[in-house]
């Protein structure tokens, strides 16, 4: 088994408390009123529950025992007392009805908010976050960890509140009944909590481990299921099974230990309650025999009832302990993700549609004109200048590496003049894709700078920067939904006609119409129903419909046959006439008509020029092109 990065181990300390507070904040912030109502209702409901045993004393002492032996006992007072009791019970039922329903709404509402915020935050995270974390561990936040939260909010919180209130009310009642016997109860509470902490601590530890094991198994399964076809091709089933068994076994161990400790908790606390009962009876008996503390038969009867109902809430809290620890560990992972630094964006230059007035000055306008301008507010004097978007991209002395110790690009300087088609050629790993990653700021350069229409791209708002760039990425990703929706992804308000046009331009219209449901064909799981080439065509259509000012094609046609490719290319050339296009391709035929071709090697540009210029230089490009050179 490969050494998979385990998520950071959560510890049960200050952080846990902080997490709990933060989680509670979700409840109290959004559902303040409801939560107060819940608290009141829980109070009423627990009073009603307690009054079952509490009332017994009064009923016995004041209404029943006095009647014993009477010839024709008068039940009126007993009935009245029962009537009052019935009212208390009824309000208890109503309260419990209200709070269980409210808790459902609060619990689910909080979950929805946590999920939504988690997803929203994830969208803001830089690409590096996705590089650093496995898909499985990110998925696990939304599934396993959120599930434990659900359990905690729906079951544990009301249970604990209810139990805590019951304990307080019972304790007060016991105190009133017999302060002396209550001393014994206090001692027992100390013993019980100590035992609960011991058992619970152990189970908590294993529950946390169980969640971690579950996360690793999720990660493993996610990766293997994605690559299941490769597994089949390599007859790797048995080995996958062995690796899975190992993970499965360790999950079994942690899970069975966690649940063992959790299951033991109930009997332990419950029987300690029995012990307490005996001790109380012995002590109470002795006291009443000796006549100390004014203990009557009725007092003893109800006090002993209380002793029984006193341990029950402890048992319940103890049983919830595990799911709370588990949920808090999950919550901590969720919050860790929410606390990840979002993509930094200090840009303030925005992209606007523009038109030229009579004097030839640029003004901002709402409608699409095919003319774009950078809106550049100057903080110093409060003025705003508009710069036409031309697609002039320049790199100055750029050095970059994905990690500190391994530079991919070195001192790169290049320029794309407006309207040019610029191509990058070079062996795989020469840094071509990296360049595009830097233009749209998926990553930020360590050294050097990039200027876009003479504006430092760090000053441009990322969203606007990316909106100005249409990109077809090397790895094609489609989304669940119809083909229509997938193409429309490039321009959400596009009409059906526009979608058809884009598809025609990308030469995808033909095969789409051949599908039984045409444009309404539903794609699932990254469009696995389509061939690689067809998926690329859709990705191109998606970019084409956006009609971007600058276009970057990163191996966009690598799986498309050359005939189709040349048709697509003509279409794209027409679309992008007068706009800047960056092309990365291995097939030299794709880039022949580029205005400038950069030959990259090991992160440096070794040749640049037009096709003809480069051929006449008789350098690397020439040799590549003529196939005479088998590059090293």
């Amino acid at each position: 088994m490969s050494k998979e990065k385990k998520p950071t181990k959560p510890s049960l300390n200050k952080n846990t408390l902080k997490t709990a507070k933060r989680l509670l904040g979700y409840v109290t912030k959004t559902y303040k009123v409801q939560f107060i109502i819940v608290l009141i209702c829980i109070l009423v409901s627990s009073i009603a529950t307690i009054s079952v045993s509490l009332s017994l004393k009064f009923l016995l002492d004041d209404y029943i025992i006095p009647l014993i032996g009477q010839k024709s006992p008068d039940y009126t007072e007993l009935y009245q007392a029962l009537g009052i009791l019935a009212c208390i019970f009824l309000s208890g039922v109503i309260a419990s009805f209200i709070y269980t329903r409210l808790m459902v709404v609060i619990g689910q509402g909080v979950l929805k908010r946590v999920r939504d915020e988690m997803f929203e935050h994830m969208q803001k995270l830089p690409i590096r976050y996705f590089d650093r974390n496995t898909n499985g561990s990110i998925m696990s936040l939304y599934t396993n960890d959120t599930d434990t939260l659900r359990q905690m909010i729906n079951q544990s919180i009301p249970q604990v509140l209810m139990s805590a209130l019951t304990i307080v009310v019972t304790f007060i009642a016991m105190l009133v009944l017999s302060p002396i016997l209550t001393v014994l109860a206090v001692v027992m509470i100390r013993v019980m909590t100590a035992v609960a902490r011991m058992v619970g601590g152990n189970s908590g530890k294993y529950f946390v481990r169980q969640q971690l094991d579950l996360a690793s198994i999720t990660g493993f399964v996610e990766e293997r299921m994605t690559g299941q076809r490769v597994v089949k091709v390599f007859n790797h089933e048995r080995i996958s099974e062995e690796e899975f068994d190992q993970l499965n076994e360790s999950l079994f161990v942690s899970s069975s230990k966690a649940h063992t400790f959790a299951s033991i908790m109930g009997p332990v606390i419950g029987n300690m309650g029995n012990l307490q009962f005996v001790l109380t009876a012995v002590l109470g008996g002795a006291l009443s025999v000796l006549g100390i503390g004014n203990i009557t038969l009725g007092v003893m009867a109800s006090y002993l009832q209380f002793t029984k109902s006193f341990t029950q809430p402890f048992m319940q809290i103890a049983q919830q302990f595990n799911s709370i620890i588990m949920a808090l560990a999950g919550a901590e992972r969720i919050f860790n993700m929410m606390d990840e630094e979002p993509e930094v964006d200090e840009g303030y230059v925005t992209l606007v549609n523009a038109k030229k007035d009579a004097q030839g000055n640029l003004t901002e306008c709402k409608e699409r004109t095919g003319l774009w301008a950078w809106k550049h507010p100057h903080q110093a004097d409060g003025t705003v200048t508009y710069t036409e978007l031309k697609g002039d991209v320049r790199f100055y002395d750029m050095t970059f590496g994905y990690t500190e110790d391994h530079m991919v690009l070195h001192d790169l300087t290049l320029y794309a003049k407006p309207g040019q088609k610029l191509a990058f050629v070079g062996s795989t790993g020469a840094g071509k894709t990296t360049i595009t990653n830097l233009i749209n700021r998926f990553y930020d350069v360590q050294d050097g700078k990039i200027r876009y229409d003479d504006i430092n791209i760090n000053k441009i708002k990322k969203a606007d920067l990316r909106r100005s760039l249409g990109i077809v990425l090397q790895d094609t990703h489609l989304f669940t939904g119809t083909i229509m929706e997938n193409i429309r992804y490039g321009k959400l308000d596009a009409t059906d006609e526009e979608v058809y046009k884009a598809a025609e331009l990308a030469h995808a219209d033909g095969f789409i119409r051949m599908l039984p449901k045409g444009y309404e064909t539903r794609l699932s799981g990254d469009g696995e129903e389509l061939s690689q080439g067809q998926r690329q065509l859709l990705a191109i259509a998606r970019a084409a419909i956006a009609d971007p000012p600058v276009l970057i094609l990163d191996e966009a046609t690598s799986s498309i046959d050359t005939r189709t490719e040349s048709i697509v290319q003509k279409g794209m050339d027409n679309l992008m006439k007068g706009r800047t296009v960056f092309v990365i391709a291995h097939r030299l035929s794709t880039i022949r008509n580029s205005d400038a071709i950069m030959v990259l090697e090991h992160g440096r540009i070794i040749e640049r020029g037009t096709h003809d210029e480069l051929l006449s230089q008789k350098g690397t490009y020439y040799q590549l092109y003529t196939g005479n050179l088998e590059l090293s």
Binding site: I65, R115, T143, S427, A463, S531, T562
Partner: protein, 577 residues
Amino acid sequence: MDKKLLRSVREYKKQSFLTPVLVAAEVFVEVLIPILMAKIIDVGIMNGDMAYIIKLGALLVLLAVVALFFGAKAGQLAAVASSGYAKNLRHDIFYKIQDFSFGNIDHFSTPGLVTRLTTDITNVQMAYMFTIRLLARAPIMIVMSLIMTVTISPAIAFMMLITIPVLGGLLIFIAKKAHPHFIKVFDEYDELNNVVQENVNAARVVKAYVREDHEVEKFGKISGIVFRLFTKAEKIVAWNSPTMQFTMYIVVLAMVLIGGESIISGDMLTGELTSVIVYALQILTSLMMVSFVFVMIMIAEASTERINEVLDEVPEMEDKADAVTEVTNGDIEFEHVNFSYAGEGGNLSLKDVNLHIKSGQIVGIIGGTGSAKSTLVQLIPRLYDVTSGTVKVGGTDVRDYNLKALRDQVSVVLQKNVLFTGSIYENIRWGDETASDAEVERVCKLAQADGFIREFPNQYETMIVEGGNNVSGGQKQRLCIARALLKKPKILILDDSTSAVDTKTDALIRQAFREEIPDTTRIIIAQRVSSVEDADVIIVMDKGEISGIGTSEELLKTNAIYREVYESQMKGGKDSE
């Protein structure tokens, strides 16, 4: 609980049966405790008999210790049984998936399978644990408590006898009502996970199109539906506790009434009333437990159904009993092959394909996007079965081979390829677990991957991250080729596997093939004519049919499609001269 699923309990049967037995023992003891308690109150305290109190007290403590022992042991067994059951289920599902053919895999989505292996199994595990722990406890508790109640007050016992089915019925009614809603919730959950997964996978696309808000909105919509459905389902379940409390209070009131009268008339002692109430509460709590377990089983049932979908899926391919285990040579034959992904009656992707490739030949396949090139070669290692006709390898129908044997000899580099978390060594060794470092390095040299691997700081020990995203597309392709070469197959198929590799490296790879593995049948699907130009045979595919077969020279004369592709790609070369 689903019978079929329960078969997976296997070696944990002992624990599963012992748990209820121990629970029963625990309950027997537990039921005795209130009697002792009542005696202590009524006899001991009433008479101020300390010796009696201590005697019964000691007995009670003893019983408590026994109950604790049984209870704790039962808890431990239940934990082991349920975790073990979950382990076996996960094992069965995962192993089942390993037996899936490509066609089977197409039926399930990755997130769907992941949820089944995690959340769904956890649900079943919890339901199982509570079932074996509580379902034994509840009936025994109810019966025992009833018997005890009868000995004290037949009237109250009669009342309880009526209450139990009424309350039980109500609780089950509530659980049944909620069930369909829970099923809907879980379907919606899948949807939610799917959006998350797509967004994690396609984070770059979302960012490049600045569609973060769009995705957030999409997610919000589904999470809104989950919220609504879940709230609805749980609101139904929320009827449980007020219903239960209502019943409980009525019972208590009635008991005080009946019991009070009995006490007054001298038929009952005060301590007995206390005990009767304790028994009544125990009965009601047991019913509550039953309904709690019932809800859990209901939720788990939705999961059970989903798990069964996987377990019930019939693997489309199974080895015959007398399957051929040796592939004699790299001969390939297609006879009147029709193929549809949808099976019989579906849209034909391949139409009446006839083909003969001789062992050791180099075959190029070329054709437009969607012309079924990949489909054609996927039939050779029997990734899919033909809809009609026959595919033969080494003169034997592929369906007669042992699958493992066939696929060991027919190595495919898939177009959509995947590397796995692990070092480069580990990844390449997928081809042959026993290969030495030197062998791994040799195939990497052949695939022209050795060069860039050596440039990594950790060389062959470089860790590949999930999905292989820390190497470039071209590097990934070459690693995948190396991995396939390590198998030393009789037939090697490259499905557009050098598309991200530059022409020169591509040429080097082909040259290495020619020199190092001349006897292997090599099938190369490519877009570049240069990649297939020097092949022994070139197949031109068009819309699922073979449009032409021959050498490059022959096809230039006879095949219009080939000529057009050739000219469009070679024109550049000629211009420059």
